[in-house]
Subunit: 144 residues, 2 copies
DNA sequence: TGTATAATCTACCAACATAGTAGGAATTGT
DNA sequence: ACAATTCCTACTATGTTGGTAGATTATACA
C-alpha cells in the first residue's frame, strides 16, 4: 500500500500553489525546480489537477498555474481522489453487489474500517490547513 | 490506493484457517474452493504466510494448514505487513533521512497521519475478533 | 509396499500500471 | 517578431500483479 508518485508529487505541487496565493501564477518550471520533479512529468499532473477543477492555468508568457478555488475549500480527500483515483481499498466496500459474500464478509468489514479511517483524516484537512502548518514551521525555524 | 489480491485473498484464507480451529488442518484445495481462489495462486500466498510464521503446514496425505499461533495473538497489522509489504504510504514517513526536506514537509505530515490511522485500525483487530464477528453474523442469520 | 493425497519448489508468462521522455503546436506578454 | 508558457500526442522502459505449469517430496492409509 504505497502511494504513487502521481499523488505524492501532485499534492506537493498543489500545496506550493496554495502557498503562492491566488494573485500571481506559478510556473511548472518553478514548481518542478523547487520540488525536484521532472518538468514533463509535472505537466501531466497539472493537467489532471486542472481537469478536476482544482487549479486553473494561464497560457503564454508570464503564464502558469493558480488555485481555482480558495484553499480552505479544497479538502485533501478531493485532491487525493483525483490523483490516486478514489480512496477505495476494495471494490466491494463501496458496492455490495460486487461480491455475493459481501454482506457477511468480515474481511470486507475490515477494509471498510480502514477506508473510513483514511477518508476521515483526509476529509479533515484542507489546503489552507497545510499552508498554515507550513507557516508555523517556518516561524519556529527562525525562532520568532 | 487499492489492495492487492495477495492481501485480500491472504486475509480471507487466514480467517478461514482461524475459523477452522487448531485441531485439524485445512487443505488449500478446500480454502480455494470456498473462497473461489485459484489453488496454485493460493499456494503462493500460503507460502508467504508460512514463512512469516502465521501458519504451519502438515505435508502429505491428510495434511494441510493450521494457524501457528493462537488467533488472539495475531494482529491484522502483522498479517497485513507480511502480505502487502508494510503499511507505508511513503518511505520518508518511516525514515527521515529519505528526503532532506522531510523535517519541514507538510505533505509528509499528512501521509504520516494517514498511515497512523490505518495502523491504528489494523493493530486493534486480531484474528480472534474476526472469528467472533463471523460467528455473530451467522447467528443473526439463523435468527437465534 | 504401493498409491493417493498433499504440500513444496522452480520456472515461466501475459497484461497492466507506473513513471516517466520527446517533440511539437498553440497561446500570450513584451 | 520572439520568448516564455501551457497544451497535446505519442512513445517507452521497468516493475508488479496475478496468475499457470510441471516436477518433487512427504505422509497416511490400505
Amino acid at each position: 500500500m504505497k502511494l504513487s508518485t502521481r499523488t505524492r508529487y501532485g499534492l506537493r505541487a498543489i500545496i506550493e500553489l496554495a502557498e503562492n496565493g491566488r494573485e500571481a501564477p506559478l510556473q511548472i518550471k518553478a514548481i518542478a525546480r523547487s520540488q525536484e520533479i521532472s518538468v514533463k512529468y509535472l505537466e501531466q499532473l497539472m493537467t489532471i489537477l486542472r481537469s478536476a477543477g482544482f487549479v486553473r492555468s494561464i497560457r503564454g508568457s508570464k503564464g502558469g498555474y493558480m488555485l481555482a478555488r480558495s484553499p480552505n475549500q479544497i479538502k485533501l480527500s478531493d485532491v487525493f481522489d483525483c490523483l490516486e483515483g478514489h480512496v477505495t481499498t476494495v471494490e466491494c466496500v463501496e458496492d455490495t453487489k460486487f461480491c455475493e459474500r459481501a454482506e457477511d464478509c468480515v474481511a470486507r468489514q475490515v477494509w471498510a474500517q480502514v477506508q473510513k479511517a483514511i477518508k476521515d483524516v483526509l476529509q479533515s484537512i484542507t489546503l489552507q490547513d497545510l499552508v498554515d502548518r507550513a507557516k508555523d514551521k517556518k516561524m519556529s525555524n527562525y525562532q520568532i
